[in-house]
Symmetry: C2
Subunit: 225 residues, 2 copies
């Protein structure tokens, strides 16, 4: 097949085993460089359009080194997915200023601004699209990624809203559904339009304006009476 669906074999983790053998150990920085280069390329071109030679060149490494670290293209892609998932979770856990000292509208706007700042970057949009393209062929990996990525965002946001409801700031039946609604309002069809390059990359100001507007609409529907 010209561009086979990656079954994305077992991902080789970075700190797997200590270099306990004799002889020269594998250079983990080269490995990181390979993953970084592959991530960038997969992000902006998609799986099929990226050749292993291009990855090697971008990582300034011999192609054989790439195959030394990863059995095949699918395994490399698996490592990329893993890395992106980890990045997503890490980026989000630090975000929400859980304190209730400031206005809920202000806090939600801040969260939305940060989130959209990540999600609406053209590179990230392109990547998540390419990513989904491959994940659609591997349900197990897809589930793992969704849990670590979008699913985690949903869960964190749902907890956040549930807390606010517990404090009497919101009136909502299902936090999960409300989180869905807020995310839907935040995103709209901007990802589509950005992916198709119908609009330029949104500025920080535009992003904050969109986050704020969506929060206002959301609160009109969910604010406690």
């Amino acid at each position: 097949m010209t561009s086979a669906p990656p079954s994305a074999g077992q991902v080789a983790l970075l700190p797997a085993r200590a270099p306990r053998g004799p002889g020269r150990p594998k250079d983990q920085r080269k490995r990181a460089a390979i993953v970084a280069a592959a991530t960038g390329l997969f992000m902006e071109r998609g799986y099929a359009e990226v050749t292993m030679e291009a990855v090697a060149a971008a990582a300034r490494v011999s192609k054989m080194t790439v195959y030394g670290h990863f059995r095949d293209k699918a395994a490399l892609f698996g490592a990329v997915v893993r890395g992106v998932s980890d990045q997503m979770t890490a980026a989000l856990t630090g975000l929400p200023p859980a304190g209730a000292e400031t206005d809920l509208e202000t806090r939600l706007t801040a969260v939305g601004t940060a989130l959209l700042g990540m999600i609406l970057s053209p590179r990230v949009v392109a990547m998540s699209h390419a990513l989904m393209g491959m994940l659609m062929k591997d349900r197990a990996l897809a589930a793992a990624f969704y849990e670590a990525g979008p699913g985690n965002v949903r869960a964190v946001l749902a907890r956040y809203l549930a807390d606010a409801a517990a404090q009497g700031l919101l009136r909502l039946d299902a936090p999960q559904a409300a989180a869905d609604d807020l995310l839907g309002l935040w995103e709209g069809d901007w990802p589509k339009r950005i992916a198709l390059a119908l609009v330029p990359a949104p500025s920080a100001g535009e992003i904050e304006a969109r986050a704020r507007r969506a929060v206002r609409v959301f609160l009109r529907a969910y604010r406690a009476a």
Copy 2:
């Protein structure tokens, strides 16, 4: 390149010129069969994963006939995009029961149910994803498709909401933005989860329930006081 980005050359329209030359004219039914087969295949597999031979076989036609109707793979894809766009517009123009005799909530729920019934079909989800994959490489074609597809949906819905506002049923500043909100609430991240096969194809009941819930939230935010 193994799977080149389709620049999607000029699309050959169906009723272009009458068969005014001497000799045997091209069989337009074969052409239609080719486009239909290609649409189905591109929908469920994506551009790179579909071979011209597969298209020919699915259309029960010789490969040479395919190349007789379309210069190359990109041109065939362009025809597919064109056809899908036309289908979308056609399907939507007949939808909204513009009469104001029934409840606005009921009417919007009906529109949303019909829309989601189209959009959330796993085949359509997969197709729109594959479609975007190629369109991301051809801005002109992307714009044309967006205008005919999602953009048109937005525009129609915005007009619909503006009408309702003119009748005093809604209170909204920007119909376009409100339409965005409603669409965002309708979709949520269901397309993502369906694309990744994390949830089975939604039943008609689930679709209507989702449409109704989203409309209720929307109206809480936008209903006239």
